[in-house]
Symmetry: C2
Subunit: 196 residues, 2 copies
Amino acid sequence: MAKRAKKTANPRKAPEQDRSRATVEAIVEAAAHILVKHGYDAFTTNRVAERAGVSIGSLYQYFPNKDALLSELMRRHLVDIEQTVEAMAARALSAPLADVIRAGIQQNVQSHLIDPELHRVLSEEVPRLGAFDWKVAFIARMETRVRSILEARRNEIVVGDIDLAVYIITRTVEAVVHNAVTRQPKAIASGALADE
Amino acid sequence: MAKRAKKTANPRKAPEQDRSRATVEAIVEAAAHILVKHGYDAFTTNRVAERAGVSIGSLYQYFPNKDALLSELMRRHLVDIEQTVEAMAARALSAPLADVIRAGIQQNVQSHLIDPELHRVLSEEVPRLGAFDWKVAFIARMETRVRSILEARRNEIVVGDIDLAVYIITRTVEAVVHNAVTRQPKAIASGALADE
DNA sequence: AAGTAATCTGAGTTATTGCTCGTATTATAT
DNA sequence: ATATAATACGAGCAATAACTCAGATTACTT
């Protein structure tokens, strides 16, 4: 690092014309590309700007600092994931329990397949990642969802502590699928499902 | 970062006198302290040296670069963990399966309790952490252990793919316990065990 | 006591990188 | 056309941090 990044990011101008919107897109795409292909170490604002084909000044016109760019990247990724979650959650509410579980896992797999490499870098290489608001809120929403499913079917299952169960289920599925997808680009669907 | 860290670390002088051994200890302790109390961002070689009460020059006399210090920190931590594993593995071989599982989890909990904060920082904040040899070898050894237990009791369990089972079990237990210990300093022993 | 090796010191070098700011260019409004 | 706002540019500032090196201390030998 050089100058310490400001904690509070005074918001920057939002793009109004098509030209600037294109600039922002180029920056975001370049950022993702560099993170995925070259890792967090290579993720410098100057390099992102260069790859995006815009000047460093333009980058800072729309992102107050480096973290803001990272945050936007994560925000977009989580939005993508949440959409697939929504799509599957609707269907899964009335089905038999076993199917719900299967669907949940399947959904998680899908999420990770959206952009496995970006997902990996975001979760493993980026330091202090937990600090972003987006992620905290996202996890909370996911846990709420799992809990509501559990509570709706309380009679079908045997659990003492619902909070703990939610916690374990969330982490377990996430961790296993995350590891599977990021490390083994095979044996996704059938194997994992069956064993669970 | 400033100057790029050298990839190949030409080894430095090993301490021969008590004085220098004490210096090395002080450096390692200071490094752990800073990582735990102030996070990876604050983990600079200059700061470690200062906290250790030695000059920056002394640090570089025993650690060729920053990564070497980090690596040593991890090596020591893994050695600690492996010792508790050894201790429990012996006892668990002949017991009934349920007890073995319980013991395995218990052991994992113990490992994380050795130095939970250091463990957390090491696994979550330090970038490019998977690159260290020590960790790779460690994971391999752990998986071998789990596999041998599974194979020895093949008749008692129902699994299709042993490799996959080993993989899932390892990751699941690790992930859940890791999350539990680092995030919730309560409800360790009983709850987690029972639900599993 | 003198010589040699081990250890320690810390100011300075060097490279990196986040970010600013004055200026130039392009689009929109009048 | 002219004015005004939006957008783009990029050289360079300022801070930071890994790491070096020449010389000072301290400890072992003989």
